[in-house]
Each structure stands twice: as C-alpha cells, then as structure tokens.
Amino acid sequence: MSASQWRRAMNSGARSASPSSLPRPTRSPEAGAARRVAAAIGPAPLWSERIGIRPRHLVVLAAVILYPFIASPFFTYQIGAQSLALGLIALSLTFLGGYGGMVSLAQMTVAGFAGYGVAIFGSSSVAAVSLGWPWWLASAFAVLAATVFAAAVGWLSVRTEGIYTIMITLAVGVAFFYLAQQNYTVFNGFGGFSKVAAPEFLGIDFKEPVPFYFVTLACALAGYFVVKHLVRAPFGIALQGIRDNPRRMASLGYHVTAHRVAAYAVAGLLAAVGGVLMVWYNGRISPGTVNLGAMIGILIIAVLGGMKHPVGAFIGAIVYVLLQNFAIDLFVRERFNLVIGGVFLAIVLFSPDGLLGLWAMLRSRLVPTRLSHQKRRQL
C-alpha cells in the first residue's frame, strides 16, 4: 500500500468509526493528520456516504441485478456467472497479494480442493468414491476443508518472501495436480468426477442460468464486501503494515506469521467458495481444472484487473472470460491465442496497475476537477 492509500484507508476509518472503537494503529501521527484532513474537507457526510455507498455503487448493483433479464442465457451463464465465480477466486489472490504482499499461485488449487470436496462428499458419476452427503453438508464441508488446506499452505509458505512464495505455492499447486491425476482411490485419477451439478433447493433448479447467476452474484458480492470491510478493519490494517514493513510490525508486537497465515485462511475461504461455484458451473471436475494453465489464469485475471482494489478481480475476470470466448471470432482462427496474449501484454505494458490503473489514468485526463478534489482528499 502506498502512503497515500494508507492515509485514505485511515481517512475512511476515521470517518466511519467513533474514536473509542478506532483500531490501534490509527493512533499513529499519520492517522491524526488524516483525521484533520477529513475534518477540513467539509460538513459531516451523508448517511449513505458514512457506510460507504455512493451513486456509482447503486448503478453497478442495479446493472448486475438486471443483467440476466436483459442478456441471453448464454451471456448470463457462460459469461456472467463464470466471470463472477472466477472473479471470486481471483479476489482471493488480490486480497493476498494486494493487501498481504504474498502472491500465491495456489489459489486455483484451493478452489479445486473445494471442488473435489463437493464431488467426493456429495454425489457424482463415480459412486464408488462419492459419499453421497446432501449438497449443503457436502459443500459446507468442502469449503471448510479447503480453508484448512489453504491455511496449511500458508503456514508452509509464509516464511518465504517474494519469488520464493510464488515458487513454493507453485510447487504445492503442481503437486496437487499430479496427486489428483494419479490417485484413483480418492480423486479418481485422470477422468475426475462428472455429474456434480448445482442442487435443486426450495423448488428452484440452480442449474438453470438465471438462478445460478444469482447464486454466484450473491457469493461474489459477499466476498467483495468481506474484503472491503476486512482491509479497513484492524486485522486488514495490520496485514498491510506487515506487507510494508514486517520487522517494524513485529517490533510493535504484532505476530507477523499468525497474521499472514490468517490472511491465507481468509483468502482460502474466498477461493473455496469460488471453487464450489466453479464445480457447479462446469458440472464436473478433473485434474485439468487445477492444472498449471488454470493456476496462472487466476494470476492473469488478478493482474489484468488490477490488485489495488477488490473490484479489479471481477473486471479482470470479465475481460478474461470474454477473450476466452470471443477471441476466436476476431482474428485468424488458428492464431486466436495471439489476440488473448496481445491484449494481456498491452494492458500490462500501458498500465502496470491493470485495467483499474487505466481507468484512473483516463479519469485524471478527462475530469481534471475531480482529480484535484481527489488529490486534496489524499493529501
């Protein structure tokens, strides 16, 4: 987190919380400055602003709710629902990487772990392996198991930094892929599991595009707000402090390892929910779902969208899914991967902060007054 963002986070923290319940780190002089700036900006904010709702939030909310009623079933299911589920998995990486400074390639592995959990605990085409539990128990247990697994992966990798974290999580992911491919007693090897469909519940068939879209939307929104809330809560602030200067945080009395492992567990929870949605979306899971390409796909989504804000993961996922589906119609068929690669390259080249960075850049060019307003707020 840059100093300005830190201040902004402090700023909103100061606005939304009463002084008595302020998190510990806000007693720093920087936070004091932020509070003074907040006070200087103007009169007390509206209620809607106090809880962080702005008009653009309502516009987006209305758009995502109305979307399935306007779009075709294909766009609702394959583009909409898939983007939201993939975005949720990428969000876990944004949280871990953007706020915790730990880039983990194993987020798809955690999602796959949960997906396999749904197939193994619930019902699937492989009756010899699947335990046949009811869907809610199977999926809850799968999410729980995947969260524990994510915490274990975190516990393994938090002692490393930077590229070594990437390497160790890569190793975990690839090891899981080979385990799933070669183990027949639990993972059913190469073939994996099919007929792992979304449940029918309360008389609604969640396999249908529109109900399934709303399930993924609910999960994605929940995940988004959990992350938004968490990064302003004491835990999130401490995590960002650890990202910026772990030794200083340790000397202030924070348990650096515990915070990092907890961050892995939270990210694991998000990825696990995304994984359950993915297995319902595909109706099946096999080692191909958690292979190296899929693991890197999540990293691409997160980087493409931008890791500075949780919404980046979803924007990245939409672009990724659209390209996966329609690049083949744009260009010489045999070379359609060139389009995908070219777009990724262009975005990363022109905006190191992904699409979010591009948006910020455009806005600053087009609306200079708002920039000055923002600058003032950030200063």
Binding site: Y77, Q181, R284
Partner: protein
C-alpha cells in the same frame, strides 16, 4: 446548422447500412451454420489442426454445399480439457446458434459433450474424433452420433494375430487413463478368450520419462510385450528397454507405432520389424478410395502432414456423414430434426478406409486394420496392412450379454493372469 448537418449525415449512414443489409440478405443463399470443435491449444493442438483439415476436406468435396444450402463452419477450439470442450460447444450452440455440432477430439471431452447434448435435445451432435467407450455405452444421449469406431474396436483382431504369432504369455505396459483402458480391453477380450495370458499390467502416468521400475518388473518367461503408449512415451520406453538389454518382441496400440517410433534410430531398430499393431486406418491401405483420400489431402494442404493423420480421417468421415444426411433430407431440419436424425441413422457410405455406418446406440461399426512394421525398398520402415477385420461392433465381436458381463475396460477389466 452544424448539428442538423451532423444528424442528416448520421441518418443517411444508418439508412445506407440498412439498405445494404437488406440487399445482402436477398442476394445470399440460405446458409446453414454447423459448429466444429477440435483443438488449437493444449497437448492435441497439432492433431487438432489436422482434424479441422479433415472436416474442411469433406466440405470441399461437396463444394461447400449440402441439402441445397451453403454450409458455414463455426469453428471453436478446446484445449483437450472437458470443461473447455463443453464451454466452447455451449458457445457455438447458444451464442452462434448452430443447429448441428461436430466435435470434440478426445475421449473425456466426448463424454462431457455427450452429457451437455442431453440438455439440448433440439440440436444434433456428431462426434469429431473422440473414442471413449462410455460415450455411447454408458447412459448415451439420443442426439449424439458417432460414425467412427472407438479405442476398443480399433484393437479387435490383434489378440488372435498375437496368438498366431506364438505370443502366449505377455506383459502389458500402458498409460493410465481412459483411452488405453479401452485399447487394452479391445486387445485382451479376444486374446484372453482364445487362451492367451497377460501375466501382469503396468499402468504408468501419461508423460512418464523414467521406466526403470517398470522394466525391472518385466518377467523373463514372457513371449512378448504389449506396449500401449503414445508418441514420446513410446520412444522413451523403447530407448530405456534397449539400454537394459531387453529383447522381447512388441505388440503396439493404435497410436504406439507412429512416425516417431518408426523413425527411431537406436541399435534395436531392426527388432521393430514385425511389431504388430491395429487401428481404424493405416497409411498403406491398398484401395482406390484411400489413395484418392491421401492424394486429395496432399493437394489441398501443403502445410499438412505427409499423409492424413488418424484425426483428419475421423473428422472427415464424421463430417461427411453429417453432410450426406443433410443431402438426404434436402436440408430440412424442422420438427426437432426428426427426419434428419432418421437420415443419419440410415447413413451408409464407403469411406476411405472401409464402410461407415452406425448401430442402434449411434456408434460406428467399421473396419480395423492389423499392421506389421515392414522395411520399404528405400530402407525406411512403414506399417504394412497384414489383415483387415470388417464389421466390428462396439461389443468387440462378443454377444451383447457376454460383453455386458465383462463391463467397460478399466485397470482391472479384463483380467487373465493365470
């Protein structure tokens, strides 16, 4: 003034565009879109490209027309994973609105697409080159047709051939996934029934580099090895087997003794001579249909293989069946495609490598070619056809009840150790 001018301009553009659209639709022939799914990425990217070539060939033979309509392929690509195959099939069906879908390429993709087919009863699905037994045997979809034979059928007759060569006890080494299971079953069904023994099976993961532990397990008292490995796996095994002094003759699967193995340059090269294998086609089939097919392929695709691959052949026959049935109903796909499906069921033509027709399960009944590695006049090795086994059904020549008792091929099915 400026604003009105602008509006006028934009209005005239819209008008011109609308006029063009109307003209276009009036002038164009009726076009029928057919989805075509193969692989342009992943492990089967190169064979996948040959699959598209096969389909293009079948369409070009008919000058791009079938049933009085212009045929347009909507090509989509998978990466050999079932997830992607279904996603891309869904795109072609739901977004591009194709009414007939050809594909996919590999076995597990085929099973996944078949399951998707059940949710779209109004669309007809025709296989590309996938060859899993379960696609049409376990819980088949009424609108999924496969004109090619599958992995187990491709090996029928090889068991008897091995026994005729005096191989009574064999050791099996094979990759550990669906397609080789089918191949092994096709071989063992008749081999075991006629008294052969497969004393042990070694299942290795796809892409295994080190075969030392497998080679150490090969018993001394066997007559031959059954090697069901593909491409680089086969070459790796062969090299290591030679280095440890192995000298048993080999029997290969349908994709084992391909050009990479035939061009093998090791000391044991000569011992490859006589290696038997089987498949739904062979490079050296001596019929005018096959020779014409190869000549057409070479003429059309300068960047293709020296001779059409298995994938080009399979996509070709499936696409040709699709188009011939369209001709038979004069392009009529109304009424839930009922007439079209009846025509598909009746489709029967002489393909490049034998008759193409389907059974009641909508699976191909066809010919298998048994080949042996032979030295050509110029010193190169090739697969010579030694026997042709026509009319192989999916029950591998067994009565249906007996086949059902055996079940689909897996690691332990069939079994004849002692």
């Amino acid at each position: 003034v400026k604003a009105t001018k602008k509006r006028l301009l934009s209005r005239s553009i819209v008008g011109a565009a609308a006029a063009l659209c109307l003209l276009g639709s009036a002038a164009a022939q009726e076009t029928l879109k057919i989805g075509l799914l193969a692989n342009l990425e992943g492990p089967f990217a190169v064979p996948g490209q040959d699959g598209y070539r096969g389909a293009d060939m079948a369409l070009k033979e008919k000058n791009g027309m079938a049933g009085g309509k212009k045929i347009e392929f909507v090509k989509v690509s998978s990466d050999a994973t079932p997830d992607k195959a279904v996603a891309m099939t869904r795109k072609a069906v739901e977004q591009d609105k194709v009414q007939i879908m050809i594909g996919p390429l590999s076995g597990d993709e085929g099973i996944a697409v078949k399951n998707y087919a059940k949710t779209k009863p109004d669309i007809t699905f025709i296989n590309g080159s996938s060859g899993a037994q379960a696609t049409t045997l376990a819980d088949p979809a009424a609108n999924f047709y496969r004109f090619n034979t599958e992995g187990a059928q491709w090996m029928v007759g090889l068991g008897e051939h091995a026994l005729a060569k005096g191989y009574k006890r064999t050791f099996l080494i094979s990759e550990d996934y669906g397609f080789p299971y089918s191949q092994v079953q096709g071989f063992m069904a008749s081999y075991c029934a006629k008294g052969g023994k497969v004393v042990d099976k070694a299942w290795v993961p796809l892409g295994t580099k080190d075969y030392a532990s497998v080679i150490a397990k090969i018993p001394k008292d066997i007559d031959a090895l059954v090697v069901v490995l593909g491409g680089s796996d086969a070459v790796n095994f062969l090299t290591q087997y030679e280095q440890t002094g192995g000298n048993k003759p080999m029997i290969g699967g349908s994709i084992t003794v391909d050009q990479t193995v035939l061009n093998y340059k090791g000391k044991r090269r000569e011992s490859l001579l006589g290696t038997a294998s089987a498949g739904p086609m062979a490079d050296s089939i001596d019929t005018p249909e096959w020779k014409k097919f190869v000549a057409d392929y070479k003429a059309q695709f300068k960047d293709g293989f020296p001779s059409p691959s298995l994938f080009a052949y399979l996509y070709y026959i499936n696409t040709r069946a699709t188009l011939e049935a369209l001709d038979a109903v004069k392009g009529d796909l109304s009424g839930g495609q009922k007439a079209y499906r009846a025509a598909l069921q009746k489709t029967n033509f002489k393909g490049p490598a034998g008759e193409v027709k389907i059974d009641a399960n909508r699976n191909g009944v066809g010919t298998t070619y048994i080949t042996e590695v032979t030295k050509a006049a110029d010193g190169s090795f090739y697969n010579k056809v030694v026997k042709t086994v026509p009319n192989i059904s999916q029950t591998l020549g067994l009565p249906e009840a007996e086949f059902k008792k055996m079940g689909l091929g897996s690691r332990d099915v069939p079994d004849c150790r002692k």
